[in-house]
């Protein structure tokens, strides 16, 4: 019987299958950051253990760091302490640390791929649920808790039940102004925020074939928002082209060997999935969320559905109350206070290009506070080198320094109580972007159109 891409990568990393228990899985690459690692290092210390393979772990500071004046000491005492603790732990254990100001610094899921650490066929983990991003390269990548971070530091392995397998196939063509973010929000709205719990997803079909690596990362990134452990896409020429020449990618002779190996990483004909979904590219429109989980998303042109169409009435009403929206409301035209472009979902160079394509030659609305936060220093540099910064500046936008920023609002970048933000991030949970903040998830195109008019705007209307 044929094997799926997921089986091939997973099975080749199993050290032991415990009877009526989890698999012991070898981990190739491990990313850590300041928030979910400190307690893991305390655990090591208590057990008197060293990091077993420090060269397989990479550290960045991103979650709670400021996005202005990064050259100055971090003002928030607790944040400063977390970053310092990470630096100290890395020094003590011989781990590469890319702290603030380092040219490789940035959001953990942006720097892994852009430096070529993320490669097809690897197992990759990080104490952050959006680790699923790296699956865009045909790697098995998923988020873990701090106890598991400790396990990986100590033993380079974790213990996990092998997930079930799901395939989501989308053939056909995407309409204009429909981005990978819309594709992901569309899928989540169809499956719900728990529809893929227990599964690992493979995305296949023409729509994903045609997508850029950045777009594939956006889609895989959002896999967790429907409950999936992770998502992956089989590597192809685009994957190799993206990786070629990057700092940590294999070089010369090794490169050819690697490409040979990678080219076998695809699902065999006849391989069996536990669940399969099929959608058509043409069905997808620009999307936006209206509630408090990413599954509560609709096409921009539609109105908020009635609670009768949802499976849990009380939670549905609670969500609309929080947003102060009503069943039947039209989304387009609603007044917005903030626009946030950034995060590991949509903070890569392609997202800034997309955003700039809409705002070029126009002015930012006076009603809008816009926070534009590149995913990494490399993204920041490209924004400048490609002349995108000039376009942003001419339109009245400012650029911040890299980090997670208002994606989880651990630093000062908090959307104020009661305000509405159109955000290119991944979670519209209550208070996610600041206590009482109201988040509407959308693509960089919708965010740009909204930033120009001050209200939710269909990018197809902007000429």
């Amino acid at each position: 019987m044929g094997k799926t891409l997921f089986d091939k990568v997973w099975d080749s990393h199993v050290i032991e299958k415990i009877n009526d228990g989890p698999d012991v899985l070898f981990i190739d690459k491990h990313f850590i950051h300041e928030v979910t690692s400190p307690v893991a290092f305390v655990g090591l210390k208590n057990r008197n253990l060293k990091v077993i393979y420090p060269e397989r772990t990479f550290a960045t500071a991103d979650h709670n760091t400021p996005t202005i004046n990064q050259h100055l000491p971090i003002k928030d005492k607790l944040s400063a302490m977390q970053v310092k603790t990470l630096e100290k732990n890395c020094n003590e254990h011989g781990i590469d640390f890319w702290g603030l100001g380092h040219k490789m610094n940035g959001i953990v899921h942006v720097i892994g791929p852009e430096n070529g650490i993320t490669q097809p066929g690897l197992t990759i983990v990080c104490g952050d649920s959006h680790t699923s991003t790296h699956g865009a390269f045909g790697a098995i990548a998923f988020g873990i808790g701090t106890s598991e971070v400790e396990m990986v530091l100590a033993c380079q392995t974790i213990m996990q039940q092998k997930p079930l397998k799901m395939r989501i196939n989308i053939d056909g063509e995407l309409n204009s102004h429909v981005t990978p973010k819309d594709v992901a929000l569309y899928i989540i709205s169809k499956l719900s925020s728990s529809g893929a719990t227990g599964y690992f997803v493979e995305y296949s079909g023409k729509v994903f074939k045609n997508m850029s690596m950045e777009g594939r990362m956006t889609v895989c990134n959002l896999s967790i928002e429907m409950g999936a452990r992770g998502g992956m896409i089989a590597p192809d020429e685009k994957t190799y082209e993206y990786l070629r020449g990057r700092e940590f990618a294999p070089k010369s002779e090794k490169w050819n060997k690697a490409v040979n190996y990678w080219s076998e990483l695809k699902t065999d004909p006849g391989a069996i999935f536990d669940k399969e979904y099929e959608f058509k590219g043409e069905e997808i429109e620009p999307m936006i969320t209206y509630g408090t989980n990413p599954g509560m998303a609709i096409p921009l042109s539609k109105s908020i559905p009635s609670s009768k169409e949802s499976d849990s009435n009380s939670s549905y009403k609670k969500a609309l109350d929080y947003m102060e929206f009503n069943e039947g409301d039209k989304m387009v035209g609603k007044k917005i206070d903030y626009v946030f472009l950034g995060s590991c979902t949509n903070g890569r160079i392609e997202d800034f290009r997309t955003f700039a394509s809409i705002i070029k030659g126009k002015k930012k609305s006076k009603n809008i506070d816009a926070w534009l936060v590149p995913g990494s220093h490399k993204v920041l540099k490209s924004i400048i080198d490609e002349g995108i910064l000039d376009i942003l500046t001419d339109s009245g936008f400012k650029l911040r320094e890299p980090g997670c920023s208002a994606c989880l609002a651990m630093n000062d970048d908090k959307i104020p109580q009661g305000k509405y933000a159109v955000s290119t991030t991944n979670r519209n949970f209550e208070g996610r972007q600041g206590p009482g903040a109201r988040t509407l998830l959308a693509s960089p195109l919708v965010a740009a159109a909204t930033a120009i008019t001050g209200k939710i705007t269909d990018p197809r209307e902007i000429i």
């Binding site: 380079q156 719990t197 690697a258 989880l408 208070g431």
Partner: protein, 198 residues
């Protein structure tokens, strides 16, 4: 030995009848700045428990003195969202040892098992029976029996089985964690680390 051993638990329970509770609600991000695992219970469900001026929101179950105990009964799809283990630390630190729901998010469930909070997944219908039992009498006692994998409503005797792998069950009842197991696998691990695919 990483945590308290778990065998039989008899306790009243706190009901939280809300679906899709994400870990940002269980513990908001701004409380994740600690470098040690201490004091997270105070901020469990922070923004549902307290107003922005830090006064208590009386309607929230954790602020209702009628409800107490070591078991949290939660709505469907509990613990979705962020992988932060801090969410389970907060639940543990607050005093809960078991969480009951009809559906858990994956990472949350793993995190629970790794630190000694027992996630008990039961059917939707049994879950609503439990909620109405507490509605009728907030002093109702429930029994968790890990060995038999049973969750029981004491006074009616109604019970349902829940799943847990043998491996995790033995970890929980002995208070062991995975690292205790993995440290014995050093040789196998190093042979994997030396394998070159390209």
């Amino acid at each position: 030995m990483a945590y308290e051993k778990f065998n039989i638990l008899n306790s009243t329970a706190v009901p939280l009848d809300i679906d899709n509770v994400d870990t940002d609600q269980i513990i908001p991000a701004r409380f994740l700045k600690a470098t040690e695992r201490k004091g997270f219970g105070d901020n469990l469900f922070r923004d549902w428990r307290y107003n922005s001026d830090n006064t208590e929101i009386y309607s929230f179950p954790l602020n209702n003195n009628d409800y107490k105990g070591k078991i949290l009964i939660a709505g469907k799809n509990f613990g979705c969202g962020s992988s932060r283990e801090h969410a389970v630390w907060a639940i543990y630190d607050y005093g809960f040892r078991a969480v009951v729901s009809s559906f858990f998010a994956d990472i949350f469930k793993n995190n629970c098992l790794n630190i000694g909070v027992l996630p008990i997944q039961i059917s939707d219908s049994f879950l609503s029976q439990i909620f109405s039992q507490i509605d009728d009498d907030f002093d109702s006692v429930f029994e968790v029996n890990l060995q038999n994998q049973e969750f029981k409503i004491q006074n009616s005797g109604l019970k349902e089985n829940f799943k847990i792998s043998n491996y995790k069950k033995s970890n929980m009842s002995n208070g062991f964690d995975d690292i205790d197991y993995l440290l014995n696998k050093k040789d196998e691990i190093s042979s994997f680390a030396n394998k070159k695919r390209y």
